[in-house]
């Protein structure tokens, strides 16, 4: 289904602009006509007044004969649409108009010479019984106005054509780009999650939209990949304990003879079930943290107090496991967060170090502050993690030993990453500068 041109936003805009243009031109035309019409009438009246004054002057200085002379001259000078009349007691003395009613001042009347024409001019009694009229046929004005209207119509037609063509071109390019976006979206809906919208690099609104949609698609694709990975990992990681469970139950049924043997087999089966449940619990907890709902319960947390608690809870545990746990004292350091989860983050990192490093390893927990963020550092001087794994260990189910010989479900570090992200921070693993082992850094933004 193609986006139809007439329904596009840019076409609608072009149509609106055209309508505004049409109305403006019409208003402009009417105004111009009114102004020119009234100006030209005024001009006619002024000329006519001058004519009447000249005839009147002639009469005043040299009598009726001179007035007649002036009238004759004016009549000769006048074009075919200009009129003068000098009449004495209802009889024409000179001029090109028939005798008429002796109205004075600025007057207007139908032309007695040409049907449908109107004459405008000035009439005056220059002496008792002596009447003068001078005026013009309005056909002049109409002719000028007609030319103006024609010119405006031409201009209007050309502008309209340009506007329509421009609108069409803009709409077509807009439609073409929208079509491209729709096509890509449809391809993605059909399952091709790798498709992306072409970006022209013009940095306009459509380009920005395309960039945002592409970023959104990247995020969705990453989540989908993660989901796919997790689903297959869950299936894989569940198969082992479920297989053990099944074997134990089968063996109990086949081999157990005494109540003690049955009890032992059932205990083993329960342990297998617990292992599966603990895997589910860890997965659900990570999913819940990633959901972000716990942000609603954020409260001020003193990280220095959490460090102190880490020392109190794990100092003895580390000692019993022949590890040395050193927690560097820190001044009170408040951030907004979830205390329970932040402690679990620290606990996971410390336990990770205790479980995965040999006896004699030194574990250090420290807090580093700067203006923008707070960093929790948990480091050990154990054998370390291969550098190529530093980025992967925070993925769910990732384990440094592919054989999965070590106990644990490989979700502890994924949970720490989820907790860091929930707080708007991040977690990284690196090799300590000039030393062995691994250093985990959890950067948390300071609260405003």
């Amino acid at each position: 289904m193609r986006i139809r041109l007439l329904h596009t936003e840019s076409f609608r805009l072009a149509a609106i602009y055209t309508a505004i243009f049409v109305v403006s031109v019409a208003v402009l035309g009417v105004t111009v006509l009114a102004i020119t019409g009234s100006a030209m009438r005024q001009q006619i009246v002024q000329y006519s007044q001058a004519d009447v004054a000249a005839i009147s002057d002639g009469y005043a200085h040299e009598g009726l004969h001179e007035a007649e002379e002036v009238t004759q001259q004016l009549m000769v000078a006048a074009g075919h649409a200009d009129f003068v009349l000098l009449q004495q007691n209802g009889v024409r003395v000179a001029g090109n108009l028939p005798p008429m009613a002796t109205r004075t001042g600025s007057i207007e009347f139908p032309s007695p010479l040409t049907p449908d024409h109107v004459i405008v001019g000035v009439g005056a009694n220059i002496a008792p019984g002596l009447y003068v009229f001078s005026g013009s046929d309005l056909v002049f004005v109409s002719a000028v106005q007609e030319r103006i209207v024609k010119l405006l119509l031409w201009l209007f037609a050309v502008s309209l054509l340009v506007a329509a063509l421009g609108g069409l071109l803009v709409s077509r390019s807009f439609v073409a780009r929208m079509d491209a976006i729709s096509r890509t979206c449809r391809a993605i809906m059909a399952g091709n999650l790798r498709d992306r919208i072409a970006v022209r690099g013009s940095r306009d609104e459509l380009d920005n939209l395309a960039i945002i949609i592409n970023a959104m698609l990247d995020r969705i694709a990453a989540l989908m990949d993660n989901l796919r990975q997790v689903s297959s990992d869950v299936a894989h990681d569940l198969r082992t304990p479920l297989t053990h469970l099944r074997q134990r139950l089968e063996r109990a049924r086949g081999e157990a003879q005494s109540p003690q043997q049955y009890a032992a087999a059932l205990d083993a089966a329960i342990a297998s079930a617990d292992e599966i449940l603990s895997l589910f619990a860890a997965l659900l907890r990570i999913a819940q943290i990633e959901g972000g709902a716990r942000r609603a319960g954020f409260a001020p947390v003193d990280l220095a107090a959490l460090l102190q608690k880490t020392k109190e809870v794990y100092g003895a545990v580390a000692e019993d496991a022949a590890h040395a746990l050193a927690v560097q004292p820190a001044a009170a350091c408040m951030i907004r967060g979830d205390e329970e989860l932040l402690f679990q983050l620290l606990a996971n990192l410390v336990e990770n170090a205790i479980v995965h490093t040999p006896a004699g390893t030194r574990i250090t927990v420290a807090l580093k502050e700067d203006a923008a963020q707070v960093t929790l550092l948990v480091s050990d001087d154990g054998p370390g993690i291969p550098p190529e794994a530093h980025g992967k260990i925070f993925q769910r189910f990732y384990r440094a030993d592919a054989a999965r010989s070590q106990p644990g479900h490989g979700l502890g570090l994924a949970l720490t990453a989820a907790v860091a992200e929930l707080h708007g921070g991040s977690i990284t693993a690196a090799k300590p500068a000039g030393g062995n082992g691994v250093i985990f850094g959890v950067s948390l933004p300071r609260s405003e």
């Binding site: 205990d267 449940l277 603990s278 589910f280 619990a281 659900l284 907890r285 999913a287 819940q288 709902a293 716990r294 319960g297 109190e312 809870v313 794990y314 003895a316 545990v317 019993d320 496991a321 329970e340 402690f343 679990q344 606990a347 336990e351 205790i354 479980v355 106990p407 644990g408 502890g412």
Partner: protein, 227 residues
């Protein structure tokens, strides 16, 4: 443990029967209610020693039920049952007035220990300044402990551990209960936190002062015996 009358408000029939069987097996009297509305009515009328309330219930949900009971001044101890996916239910349940919570699925021994713990003697609950039992005296203000009159010096974590054991004297406390109530850890640690601190506490308490007073209950937890 003397026999108690317990009201179980749980709509999952199989779960309810399992819990009831466990409790009855230990000499308790159990009534089962399948809906929140019915449960709320019965919780008000009869003299129950404890209520076990599921979070998800038809009619009236468990959280609202506990809140309404507490608002109406009914202070029967409540054990709140939540699911694995409802981590926030725990916080809400405790804030709503539940005395403890338990996440499904759970071991029978865990359930028993929790029910017994919430019904502990009133004088061992809340604001006391002096705890006594098993020849021990614990001053909660001065943070001191004596055994048979001799002072015992404890680390902060060991003190909290002993306080919890003393408040639940003669009752089994599970490893999970200790993790949750002493260390406020709501996850399963991969190290022996409980065992480590327990062995240090025992060593300090037993140091030339007499016999073992904290016993291990195999596969379940620990018990501090008064005598």
């Amino acid at each position: 443990m003397e026999s108690m009358k317990i009201l179980l408000i749980e709509d999952d029939r199989e779960m309810a029967d399992g819990i009831a069987q466990t409790l009855r097996g230990h000499g308790h009297e159990v009534e089962i209610s399948g809906t929140g509305t019915d449960g709320a009515t019965r919780a008000r009328s009869d003299g129950f020693a404890a209520l076990i309330v599921d979070r998800m219930l038809p009619g009236l949900d468990g959280l609202t039920l506990v809140r309404e009971l507490r608002t109406d001044g009914i202070n029967t101890p409540v054990l709140f049952l939540t699911t694995m996916s409802g981590i926030d239910d725990r916080v809400q349940g405790l804030e709503g007035g539940a005395d403890d919570y338990l996440t499904k699925p759970f071991a029978a021994a865990e359930l028993l220990a929790r029910v017994h713990a919430i019904t502990r003697r009133a004088d061992l609950r809340g604001e006391t300044t002096l705890l006594k039992g098993a020849g021990l005296e614990m001053n909660l203000i001065r943070r001191t402990v004596t055994r048979a009159g001799h002072p015992v010096t404890l680390q902060a974590q060991e003190f909290l551990l002993l306080e919890y054991l003393l408040r639940n004297v003669d009752k089994v406390v599970t490893r999970t209960m200790l993790l949750e109530h002493v260390w406020e850890l709501h996850f399963d640690p991969r190290t022996n936190i409980v065992e480590t601190h327990m062995s240090r506490l025992r060593a300090k308490l037993d140091c030339g002062l007499g016999g073992e007073i904290i016993s291990t209950v195999r596969g379940t937890g620990y018990i501090l015996r008064a005598h």
